[in-house]
């Protein structure tokens, strides 16, 4: 594992520098983000540890920031040749929709729609996959969470709205 050279793609440096900048921003704003009005001395208080941790992050990001500013010869932006992650992005957006759907439409309708839509987008065209998989999984999830685990799911907005 050890002894390999640093990765070439500049995306590594960009992401590293981004995390470092984020940590620096939080570090600067820490006195306003942490309530230090208590009676404890600094070493017992809630501020010392976050300061150490955020400083570690800033320090660890310096090599990335340096390479981002002064890229080594031959450095490129290409990561692994996989291209832009279109499929994961679309599925991720659908997943966010699924979360909203849980509140708006309820568990069953939301998971049925998310699964059928995502599977269709991912290239599945067989009716057995597009219809049966969502129905079976939704049925199982519904049974397990609502009946077996007795989990409370809020009344969907749509039902509340229709019910007045």
């Amino acid at each position: 594992m050890a002894g390999q050279s640093e990765p070439d793609s500049r995306l590594h440096d960009l992401f590293g520098a981004f995390l470092g900048a984020l940590a620096a921003g939080i570090l600067i704003s820490t006195p306003w983000q942490v309530d230090t009005t208590g009676p404890d001395p600094f070493y017992k208080g809630p501020l010392i540890y976050p300061l150490l941790v955020l400083s570690l992050m800033v320090l660890a990001s310096l090599p990335s920031a340096w390479r981002l500013a002064r890229p080594p010869e031959g450095a490129m932006w290409q990561l692994d040749g996989g291209g832009f992650p279109l499929k994961p992005s679309v599925v991720f957006i659908a997943l966010i929709g699924f979360l909203f759907g849980l509140v708006i439409m309820g568990l069953s309708a939301s998971s049925l729609l998310f699964m059928a839509g995502s599977l269709y987008y991912l290239g599945h065209r067989r009716l057995s996959v597009l219809v049966l998989v969502p129905i079976i999984v939704t049925g199982l999830v519904f049974m397990v969470f609502k009946f077996f685990l007795d989990v409370y799911f809020p009344t969907p907005f749509v039902v509340e709205w229709l019910g007045g």
């Binding site: 991720f92 997943l95 599977l119």
Partner: protein, 496 residues
């Protein structure tokens, strides 16, 4: 003592516990067989379900997935040269050549027997070694605990030293995540950014589930990892005559189990190293070293013996010091703490029945996983034919609903989804995601022990170097940083 052992056995043989460990082993085998998923995803997806279980059953369920995953990982490695879990890659060196020769059953028998032997031997070492380590750790105060946790962190970071700055960044990020929310000792809110829900902190379950569950499934959506066309298996069950043949390698079985346990004991080393070291040790002492890599059952047996010994090995620092050795045992630590049980030297004294149940359950898990695969080998192997994108979508739904179910808070699901994106980016960049998880898990321990130690020393950090065990641990951590860096430098100079 004997009473506690008997109570542990009784609890372990309880119907609920048997069902939990058998279900865990089943799920573990399934997620282990499907390349790209692995036991971590299985554990985090089922984590929310453990909240309705007693600690013994919850741990049996998750340990079943942990151990079962390594059993399952060998199947596609032998049949298709596609390791189900990364450490099974070494198994494929000899397993797949055996399959090509039409001797898949010999490869699978050796792999399964190696897994079983490694698993059982490591549990016996755990039973023997844990009380000894706990006895030493009983004299630990806050500075020693802090130094031990720091030692574990250093081991994990240095295990991925080719990505040192990224590893440190992720560790720092994980440590910072652990500070979000109300600070326990002072009840001061920290880094809530005006979001009320953040006062509860970033809980380990949504963080892990997002990073591993959702992050990994987004990768699965993108890549068609499986190539099941090459898979072939004629019998439904394992050929038991081939299984008996593996007993001629009994020395390799024992050796691999011992190596795997001790590698698993060290934080951050991982099961790949255990597999590789066991394989190399077997090759060195074999009567036919020239057959290694060309298709010898001994190679499969050694590799699987090594990686299957890791779960019990990783339990040793977890149970005795409360320090998880890897991301999988970090999740187990989460289960302990969620149930109000804090692993450490006193755990063995305070909860002897739970510990004995755990030991016995681990033995039973190995038996259950072995029997399941021996009798349902082909049905299990057929799982690789399931399309990975279907699995990914199903796992996403279960993950999001499961995480909501823990506290019936949509906010937790939102955290999991955000962590899912972060997990996807980190997996795609191949950054050591384990450092982030270790940071989240160990952050609270490190902070608490640091503040307690500084209080003991009236604010002076000198306290860490005035206590012998603490000094020893800090020096060991320093050596772990310096020696590999010097070795890398010397290697670079030599090659230049």
């Amino acid at each position: 003592m004997l009473e506690n052992v008997l109570l542990g056995i009784q609890s372990g043989l309880g119907l609920g516990n048997l069902a939990a460990l058998a279900f865990g082993a089943f799920v573990g085998i399934v997620v282990g067989i499907v390349p790209g998923i692995g036991p971590m995803v299985g554990m985090v997806v089922l984590l929310p379900f453990t909240f309705v279980l007693t600690p013994e059953k919850a741990l049996s369920l998750l340990l079943g997935i942990f151990c079962g995953g390594y059993y399952g990982g060998a199947i596609p490695a032998v049949l298709m040269r596609t390791p189900g879990v990364p450490s099974s890659l070494i198994t494929s060196f000899d397993g797949f050549p055996l399959t090509q020769k039409g001797e898949a059953q010999r490869g699978l028998s050796a792999a399964l027997m190696g897994s079983f032997a490694g698993g059982m031997i490591s549990v016996f070492i755990l039973i023997f070694l844990a009380p000894l380590l706990a006895h030493v750790a009983a004299s630990f105060g806050p500075p020693e605990y802090f130094s031990a946790a720091l030692f574990g962190v250093v081991l994990v970071v240095m295990a991925y030293r080719e990505r040192l700055s990224q590893g440190l960044l992720l560790l720092g990020l994980g440590l910072w995540f652990s500070t979000v929310g109300i600070d326990g000792p002072t009840l001061c809110p920290r880094f809530c950014f005006g979001i009320w829900s953040l006062q509860n902190g970033l809980h380990i379950v949504p963080v892990c589930l997002g990073l591993f569950g959702i992050g990994q499934t987004l990768i699965l959506v993108e890549k068609q990892i499986l190539q099941s066309e090459t898979m072939s298996l004629t019998r439904r069950t394992l050929d038991f005559t081939k299984l008996v043949e593996t007993f001629r390698y009994w020395k390799t079985m024992i050796k691999s189990g011992v190596i795997g346990t001790f590698v698993g004991l060290l934080p951050g080393t991982g099961s790949i190293l255990a597999s590789f070291m066991s394989y190399e040790a077997a090759k060195r002492t074999s009567k036919h070293p020239e057959e290694f890599g060309k298709g010898t059952p001994e190679g499969c047996l050694a590799s699987e013996g090594g990686n299957n010994a890791v779960p019990a090995g990783a339990m040793i620092p977890l149970l005795t010091l409360g320090i998880p050795g890897d991301a999988l045992s970090a999740v187990l630590l989460g289960v302990f703490t969620i149930n109000g049980i804090y692993p450490g030297p006193l755990l063995l004294l305070k909860e002897p029945v739970l510990i004995n149940t755990l030991y016995f359950s681990m033995l039973l898990i190995n038996i259950a996983a072995f029997l399941m695969l021996a009798f349902w080998l082909r049905p299990f192997a057929m799982i690789v034919r399931v399309n990975s994108s279907i699995l990914a979508i199903v796992i996403m739904v279960i993950s999001v609903v499961g995480i909501y179910a823990v506290n019936t808070r949509i906010f937790d699901a939102v955290v999991a989804v955000v962590m899912g994106v972060l997990g996807y980016i980190l997996l795609r960049l191949k950054w050591p995601i384990v450092n982030l998880v270790m940071g989240v898990i160990l952050g609270e321990i490190l902070e608490q022990r640091l503040r307690e130690s500084l209080s003991l020393g009236d604010g002076s950090p000198i306290i860490f170097v005035t206590r012998p065990i603490s000094v020893g641990l800090l020096m060991a951590a320093a050596l772990i940083i310096i020696i590999p860096l010097l070795m890398d430098r010397r290697r670079r100079n030599r090659s230049a």
